[in-house]
């Protein structure tokens, strides 16, 4: 480019993860991600992209780089040991007939 005096094109907007609470009392659930220049814009974009059909009553956004994720390489070490411990599911109890709502 000959236009050397101009500043470089602005870097891409950072990525935000979006969490929506669908009704009061329910938890916020991850619904997707989007780009925005700042936190306020991220809320506005999340509102416009993810709540157009009344999907939510509350929005959380968090910079994607702030999320610390488990390493897929470590999946075996993290999750494999739980596989042979089915007894951790509370499904081995005999439920007395008198108990109606369990």
């Amino acid at each position: 480019m000959t236009d050397a005096g101009k500043p470089p094109a602005s870097p891409e907007w950072p990525l935000f993860e979006v969490f929506i609470r669908s009704r009061a009392g329910l938890e916020h659930k991850h619904v997707g991600s989007l780009h925005a220049a700042d936190a306020r814009m991220a809320i506005e974009h999340a509102r416009d992209v993810y709540t157009r059909r009344q999907e939510g009553v509350s929005i959380w956004v968090v910079r994607s780089v702030q999320i610390i994720a488990s390493d897929p390489e470590e999946a075996d070490a993290l999750f494999e040991p739980a596989r042979d411990k089915v007894y951790r599911h509370p499904s081995f109890y005999v439920i007395p007939d008198e108990v109606k709502n369990l």
């Binding site: 814009m41 506005e44 974009h45 992209v49």
Partner: protein
């Protein structure tokens, strides 16, 4: 009708006409601004802004539908919202000239939106107290939407005004160019005066003072300068428009004009 009855009925007739004109002004302003924003669909800088602008457009067209339906009822000539939107020519539109100004670049669209949003904020807030219960109800609904529109446009105004040298320069240029259309926002004529007299509409001078303070605050936050007030030759409220409205209507009305009564 006896002469005495006719004389007594005359002020009501004039009030009726003024109310019709007032509601058309509000409805047409929302409709034309919504149509303008719709032009961005598929062209906005990012997918998220594309959806954002389309959401504003749909809110505004929703307001226009309520207002034009009401106008059609006041008029009593069996014209519904569609007939009023699609089958009137430019001189019969009474929107503010600011609403019909071209989109320009994104910064220009934002400035136009911010000026209109801050105007609608004042008008709808006061109209909630209108003696006309139908207008009060429409205003209460529209105000919620307008608060979001203003949040969106004022946020962008600051971001652009206080952003890079280029964004600052572009958005200041847009403010300078669009400022001449702001004189019309608060210029009261006989329709406004009649509405104020019966408590249907707020006095524009009060709204102007609030608007002006808000606009100054936003301009300061965005490091932008307020241009001097300028005289304006356009009176969109009276059907005297800039050349741009004709093109907006040509696109908006093309289908209904070509295939009258088409439905899908």
């Amino acid at each position: 009708m006896s002469r005495a009855v006719a004389a007594a009925a005359r002020p009501d007739r004039a009030l009726h006409e003024a109310l019709l004109r007032y509601v058309l002004r509000l409805g047409d302003t929302s409709l034309v601004l919504g149509q303008r924003l719709g032009e961005w669909v598929g062209h906005a800088p990012t997918l998220e802004e594309d959806l954002g602008l389309a959401n504003l457009a749909l809110d505004l067209i929703g307001q226009a539908r309520l207002l034009l339906t009401y106008a059609g009822e006041i008029e009593g000539r069996e014209r519904d919202e569609d007939a009023l939107a699609y089958l009137r020519d430019a001189p019969e539109f009474f929107n503010l000239a600011l609403a019909e100004q071209p989109n320009g670049d994104f910064g220009c669209t934002i400035v136009r939106q911010w000026l209109m949003d801050s105007w609608q904020l004042e008008i709808y807030t006061s109209l909630q107290e209108s003696t006309d219960s139908r207008l009060a109800a429409i205003a209460a609904k529209a105000l919620k939407e307008t608060r979001y529109h203003y949040r969106f446009s004022s946020g962008w105004l600051v971001r652009l005004g206080d952003g890079t040298a280029e964004s600052h320069e572009r958005v200041q240029r847009a403010v300078d160019e669009l400022w001449r259309f702001t004189g019309e926002l608060f210029a009261a004529d006989e329709v406004d005066e009649r509405m104020v007299a019966v408590g249907i509409a707020p006095p524009l001078s009060t709204a102007e003072a609030h608007w002006s303070a808000r606009v100054d605050e936003d301009l300061r936050a965005a490091s932008l300068k307020r241009p001097a007030a300028q005289p304006y030759p356009w009176h969109g409220k009276r059907g005297v428009h800039t050349e741009h409205l004709g093109y907006v209507l040509a696109e908006m009305q093309h289908l209904q004009r070509t295939y009258p009564g088409a439905r899908w």
